[in-house]
């Protein structure tokens, strides 16, 4: 397709993104912000696709537009009134001892501070653009991308993004799974799951009956296809989590997660645990940490990704539940 047509698409996407970002950030009402943010995520998916980043587009469609949106919507709907309450009001409620420190919430009310910060942001935008244009116009060496493709054959997969994520920079991904685990443990430490949803009506049940199997099927497909085409554990995990979220929205309580605490713990830990175990096994075999033997690499990556998908999906579902599952017997379904 020729450049002019692409230019029209680019301009439309950029206008849509900028106006949606601005509207999301300046909305007076939190619920409106959330809806605009979801629309922003949808358009963003198109932009990633246009910039030839299908892996990122998949993740954005699953997480950015879908799950983050559901998380945020649940947050505004849970406390429609309080979610809007400003930090200023909250700080006023702070009944602990006198705070000696200057309170930034008070500072914010000052018009002068608002303008100073706005001018600072404008200046930052100019500096950023200046530096970025310098960087993009200078002939930066492409060595890293070249060495990725040079070593792709030894990585065990043929999708370069999966190779970077699960082989060349696998250590990042291991720590990222630890971040997910930290978040869910932090959520557990904070509270129990929020109240559930009303049992679904016939229309919703119809949606559930075809959407959930489709999501599970799609998750399996993404996991498998990730080795040689866009896809992988994260996209698959988010898709699987979406199935859980739908079930939860339809009023089901345990949405397929085990009730037993120890089984639940295993599911949460298995992603990072298996990853670490593979890494340490390599150490025991006299190889560097996470250095897979090339012949085994493909299988090991698939194994790690499967475990990671399970943990990611469970983590995201529990994040949507907003706390540790209750042990009480379920009477509603």
């Amino acid at each position: 397709m020729n450049a002019t047509n692409m230019l029209f698409l680019d301009i439309l996407l950029v206008i849509a993104l900028l106006s949606l970002a601005w509207a999301t950030l300046t909305a007076t009402d939190a619920r409106r912000s959330v809806i605009l943010f979801i629309a922003f995520g949808l358009v963003l998916t198109l932009a990633w696709a246009r910039l030839l980043a299908p892996d990122v587009a998949l993740a954005e469609a699953a997480i950015g537009a879908g799950l983050s949106g559901a998380l945020l919507l649940a947050a505004v709907q849970h406390h429609p009134r309080r979610a809007l309450s400003s930090e200023r009001q909250n700080t006023g409620k702070l009944a602990n001892e006198k705070q000696n420190d200057s309170n930034p919430a008070d500072l914010k009310s000052s018009v002068a501070i608002r303008w100073t910060l706005t001018l600072f942001c404008i200046a930052l935008a100019f500096v950023l653009i200046w530096a970025l244009l310098q960087a993009l116009s200078s002939e930066t060496s492409d060595t890293l991308a070249q060495s990725v493709s040079a070593n792709l054959a030894n990585s065990g997969v043929s999708n370069p993004v999966t190779a970077v994520l699960l082989n060349f920079r696998a250590y990042d991904t291991l720590l990222e799974l630890a971040v997910l685990l930290t978040a869910v443990l932090g959520i557990f430490a904070l509270s129990e799951q929020r109240t559930g949803y009303l049992p679904a009506g016939p229309v919703f049940n119809g949606l559930v009956s075809w959407l959930v199997p489709a999501l599970i099927l799609m998750a399996g497909y993404l996991l498998w296809v990730g080795a040689h085409a866009p896809g992988g554990a994260f996209q698959a995990g988010a898709t699987l989590a979406a199935a859980g979220v739908i079930l939860r929205l339809a009023g089901k309580r345990n949405i397929g997660l085990p009730v037993s605490k120890s089984y639940l713990n295993i599911i949460l830990v298995i992603g990072s645990g298996l990853f670490l175990l593979v890494g340490l096994t390599m150490l025991a075999l006299g190889r560097p940490f996470l250095d897979y033997p090339p012949a085994m690499a493909g299988y090991l990556i698939l194994l790690i990704e499967t475990a990671a998908m399970i943990s990611i999906a469970a983590t995201l579902i529990l994040a949507f539940l907003g706390g540790r599952p209750r042990n009480r017997e379920d009477r509603s379904c």
């Binding site: 200046w130 443990l185 940490f289 250095d291």
Partner: protein
């Protein structure tokens, strides 16, 4: 031997998972992990001292394509301090949370925090540093909010927002670096980076992000409530280690990787902010009504001293004077880490025993808890910078550097800061000593009092009298 580096990250992570799976054995797992990791850190320190810089290429890929872990004298010293503080705090926490139901939530997050600290100090890759920063930030927030009521949750939420904003600014800087230089590896970057808009704006973004997390004045507003309302062992680690980890990164960027890019004018900015932090933090500590807030404001001030070194190190030419000042900076940071964690642990005991930590009502603490009061006094000595504490050496070198660089302003700041520190320390001790009979057993709760005492004693006596190896180790640099 060289596997030490990866085990410093892998072992706490593995134990975190194990404590989540086997909560019944959590304490045993944590204590044995703490001992093993401390031995590991000591082994690393020894290896760096004898063999020089340590490098570990994860996955066997060359750094750049893959991620490398690196340890030089600076990171090994900080890893060792982290290990000592965390070992002592783990023992303390096992008694502090004794049969509290929070315990099973606490241990996995605690070990994840340790894992992220070690990973940050060892990381040789800019994006990996971003991931470790996020891991550190989230685990710290989760721990700070543990079991807390409104005030603690409020503080934790602000801490989280500030932390996320800081990491995002850091990531923006990393993005510019990748756009401009096509690499994320720190060693490669330090070879190719050149003064220019890309390096300046990337450094500025990363620095602002890190200073937010390090709580340098005036970006410190979140620290006193967060450190003041967390459980005691968490406060100790937040004040002693978590802010130090991001400070370490600022050091690494300004004094090592971007040292060719930084101009004297730029280096005076952290200096001026540091001076303001020293004065403001000390003043607020003097006015604080609660011990924990006093300790938290004192952290703001002590971080200020560390930033005073930046303009001086920039002004001094490479050579003996600069090396001496560098050692002073590191020993000041180490002393503060040990002393402040000791102080927070001691405050935790007082809080648990008397149900409050209001300074005015401390009368008789010296009689009821003599060992704890002694720990507070020892850490006070280190915070003021009296001899023989490590902070005395640090401030000595700070003053020497200020004289030889001819930057007299800092001398005044150091003087005033020291006087204020003496004032707030003696204010606490003045209240703690009262006219009451002493008990027969000075140590009443061994598992909690010993860790506090040892940390403070180490800061005051250990580092002061045996600080010379620090200068030797710092000669091993990337």
């Amino acid at each position: 031997m060289i596997d030490t580096l990866i085990w410093l990250v892998a072992l706490p992570l593995a134990s975190a998972l194990a404590t989540q799976l086997l909560p019944r054995y959590a304490t045993a797992i944590v204590i044995s992990t703490a001992i093993a990791t401390s031995i590991n850190a000591a082994a690393l320190l020894y290896a760096v001292a004898t063999h020089g810089v340590m490098l570990y290429q994860i996955g066997g890929w060359t750094a750049g394509l893959g991620i490398a872990l690196r340890a030089d004298g600076l990171s090994a010293l900080l890893l060792m301090m982290a290990a000592i503080v965390l070992l002592a705090s783990s023992i303390y926490a096992s008694a502090y949370f004794n049969d509290n139901p929070l315990r099973r939530r606490f241990w996995p997050l605690w070990l994840l925090l340790w894992c992220s600290l070690n990973a940050l100090l060892l990381s040789g890759d800019l994006f990996n540093l971003y991931v470790t920063l996020e891991l550190l930030g989230l685990s710290a927030v989760a721990l700070a909010s543990l079991g807390g009521k409104t005030a603690a949750l409020q503080a934790a939420l602000r801490y989280l927002l500030v932390g996320l904003l800081g990491s995002m600014l850091f990531l923006a800087g990393v993005t510019l670096i990748y756009a401009g230089y096509g690499t994320l590896d720190l060693a490669t970057l330090s070879r190719v980076v050149a003064a220019g808009p890309i390096a300046w704006s990337a450094l500025a973004l990363m620095t602002v992000g890190l200073l937010l997390k390090t709580a340098l004045f005036p970006l410190h507003f979140w620290l006193p409530p967060a450190h003041g309302s967390a459980p005691a062992p968490v406060s100790a680690v937040l004040s002693a280690l978590v802010v130090k980890a991001t400070f370490y990164l600022v050091m690494r960027l300004w004094l090592d990787i971007f040292s060719e890019v930084v101009t004297p004018q730029a280096a005076s900015i952290p200096g001026v902010l540091g001076a303001a932090a020293v004065l403001w933090g000390s003043w607020q500590a003097l006015r604080a009504e609660r011990l924990k807030l006093l300790a938290a404001y004192s952290t703001v001030a002590q971080l200020g001293y560390l930033f005073l070194f930046f303009p001086l190190l920039q002004a001094l030419p490479a050579g003996a004077a600069r090396d001496a000042a560098m050692g002073g900076l590191v020993i000041l940071a180490l002393t503060h880490g040990l002393a402040k964690s000791g102080l927070f642990l001691a405050i935790g005991i007082i809080q648990q025993r008397s149900g409050h930590d209001t300074i005015r009502d401390l009368d008789g603490t010296a009689q009821r808890l003599p060992a704890t009061t002694f720990a507070i006094a020892l850490s006070g000595i280190a915070l003021i910078g009296l001899p023989p504490s490590g902070a005395f050496l640090g401030k000595w070198h700070l003053l020497a550097a200020a004289f030889s660089a001819g930057q007299w302003l800092w001398v005044v700041v150091i003087m005033i800061g020291t006087l204020l520190a003496a004032a707030y320390t003696f204010r606490v001790l003045g209240h703690a000593f009262g006219q009451q009979p002493y008990p027969r057993h000075p140590v009443t709760i061994a598992a909690e009092e010993w860790p506090a005492l040892i940390l403070s004693a180490f800061a005051t006596i250990g580092l002061g009298l045996a600080g010379a190896p620090v200068w030797q180790l710092l000669k091993v640099s990337l």
